[in-house]
Symmetry: C2
Subunit: 409 residues, 2 copies
């Protein structure tokens, strides 16, 4: 980060700033108990950090009663965060404050198969436009976090053989942004960032949960022991190719009956088209004609919400298959919560109902006794907020390493 | 622990003793680098712990060259550990030193379905016999660790609705042993303890791996972020009821096609009997007659090792089905290593070969690029060593809490 602006941090100071971030702007008392520290020691640290320009103490916030407390926030002058959530068919970009509140946000369709050149030209344009809207410049950006729909090598920030986006293999997103932004850039898998966003929303109170994203593909973000878990090669949570029917259709990965090939967005659209063409649904046939021969998963969802029986069957089958995959994962991982997100969740309540039924039927009683399966509370914002959390967390850590280097030098 | 003998510990002292345990008796230099501490500080801590009777510094150990270093060990006078590994059809008991070396060990068949009364009468007798063999008394026992083949509530040390052992629900193993031993008792799932044993063998150098046990049931121990992961309700790793064939036979859990019902020990024995009765194998038919109408999985393994085609097919099918389940788990968890243990691994090399082939074929390339699937290096000792590690780790932690209580009182 811009070492010219804020001085480097000690490990203890980092813990204070991370405490402020994870507690969503705590009072001094709340911070003390979060850090398990004495008041005197915490006050001294806080005073130092305010003086160095890392922290602000802001006026009493609206409270539901009792004495109002002043709260601690990361200093606004540190800059803003850019959070990008790139999916297979669209991109969400947000400017966030250091309190992780979304200050401006824009979503736009884009096909990642067009390759990184096209996609990042668009992303850079949208970033510029959002910053201008807030009267900010690229140098006001403290750090950038980017989620992408494929496996990422976290250290280099590059995609590694992403099945949905072949042109992106080993593409350096960091180099792409370096010409325009001094701010450091971190890249992670989109579902890992949704999980990080939910972990922040929960103030880290749930140590073990999953986030499932169902869109063009199916992926899973894993929180284990209170941290996002990426696996030995960064491919943990790659659940789209779990087999749900050994006699199922062939997937583009080469195997038979992968849940992604049978239940994600493209499968729902394809089944909708087949139902329309087979004369099983007047509604879908009419939509197909209007759309000029191609349906989207949203079209099937729309038909289902209007009570179309063929569309209902497709939505239920998709939910049940995802639930069957999830039952295996729940038996293995025994999470307390599963948060469901991604475009396909918008196809209607029957999807979630079938998914739940399938999990509760197929998982062991002990694993599901207290299991909650709900739609992702952050919804469409989970990805950009997670990207902001990643960027803020890593830029704070970087400020400790730069101090270490300086001490060593 | 016996606060009468060794004084209570501070959190820093605990970190030193845990460092000694996980590093398998390190030199002072190795301990410093493990603790990331200065020599002066580490020396002062070590001197204090030697004086308090927690640590010994023992003579130069055999080395492959260079200067021989003195090594630190937990004080022998603290006592010994009892490690018990209870499986569905047998029990292993070991007396271990505080360096986690096995001093005496005994294995005996027992059927857990006979209930806790019968089983623990046997376990207490075997414990007494092993201690007598080493000329030790119950009061020489520092702590006891016990692995059981079912889900455990870790805090209370009780089994919770264990499917293989219905008579054991909520049975208090702690109360059972209290009459004879002052030493504290910890209970965990058997596969979690195998994972803890391997984690100790590896000196905690691998942060993310799995241990699969295939015997009467199929279970999985999970190490995540360098710690054993038990899940939200302690049932993580319950992979035996993952579905591998939606059209498969009904399992005792009520669902169809669970991997345990199709591939664990009882299924192998049943398929062997069916092959013998259908005239598909002379070898198995002869063994069936000798055994008086019942085969064991070992009989099928023995036939397979002698080249019997029907037995080979059964062993390969079992390995392939376990591999199919494991492929889902590998896609989800992306471990660096999978260690395979349990009785069924003894049925011959075809089992592991089929299992591996099935995983590498069904998992994604990125998840398996560096994945190693090998037999558990600790083998039959993994369970008792893990039980010893659990007992030692928890008794050390308890010595910190008792100090806290004393300070508070």
């Amino acid at each position: 980060m811009r070492s010219t602006r804020a001085p480097a941090l000690s490990a203890t100071e980092l813990a204070v700033l991370e405490g402020v971030m994870w507690s969503h702007g705590p009072s001094r008392d709340a911070l003390c108990s979060h850090l398990n520290s004495s008041k005197t020691r915490a006050n001294a640290l806080v005073a130092g950090l305010i003086e160095q320009g890392w922290l602000d103490e802001i006026g009493p916030r609206a409270s539901s009663g009792g004495r109002r407390a002043e709260t601690l926030q990361l200093h606004r002058g540190l800059g803003v965060l850019l959070g990008v959530d790139l999916g297979a068919t669209g991109v969400d970009i947000a400017v966030l404050g250091t309190d992780l509140q979304v200050l401006a946000r824009h979503a736009e369709p884009v096909d990642v198969r067009e390759g990184p050149g096209v996609v990042f030209t668009l992303i850079r344009t949208l970033m510029r436009r959002l910053l201008a809207q807030l009267k900010l410049k690229p140098r006001d950006v403290l750090a950038i976090g980017i989620g992408v729909p494929g496996p990422v090598d976290f250290e280099s920030g590059q995609l590694v053989e992403p099945p949905l986006m072949p042109l992106w293999d080993r593409y350096s997103i960091r180099d792409d942004l370096r010409a325009e932004y001094e701010a450091p850039v971190w890249v992670d898998n989109d579902v890992n960032l949704m999980a990080l966003g939910e972990l922040w929303r929960l103030k880290r109170t749930l140590p073990n949960f999953l986030v499932i994203k169902i869109g063009t593909g199916i992926g899973c973000g894993i929180v284990c022991h209170g941290e996002v878990y990426r696996g030995a090669n960064g491919s943990a949570g790659d659940v789209g190719h779990i087999c749900v029917d050994p006699a199922g259709p062939r997937c583009r990965c080469g195997n038979l009956g992968c849940v992604e090939a049978m239940a994600a967005g493209p499968a729902i659209a394809r089944l909708g088209q087949e139902a329309a063409q087979a004369g099983e649904s007047e509604w879908l046939a009419r939509t197909l004609a209007e759309r000029g021969g191609e349906l989207t998963p949203e079209d099937v969802g729309n038909a289902s919400r209007h009570g179309d029986a063929a569309a209902n069957a497709i939505v239920q089958r998709s939910g049940a298959l995802v639930g069957q995959m999830l039952a295996s994962v729940v038996n293995f991982f025994n999470p307390s919560h599963v948060f469901i997100g991604g475009g396909v969740t918008g196809i209607g309540p029957l999807f979630l109902a079938s998914l739940r039924q399938s999990v509760y039927q197929r998982s062991l009683a002990l694993s599901t006794r207290h299991l909650e399966i709900v739609l992702s509370p952050l919804g469409e914002n989970a990805g950009v907020i997670g990207a902001g959390v990643l960027a803020l967390q890593e830029v704070l850590r970087l400020s400790v390493s730069s101090r270490r280097e300086r001490v060593a030098a």
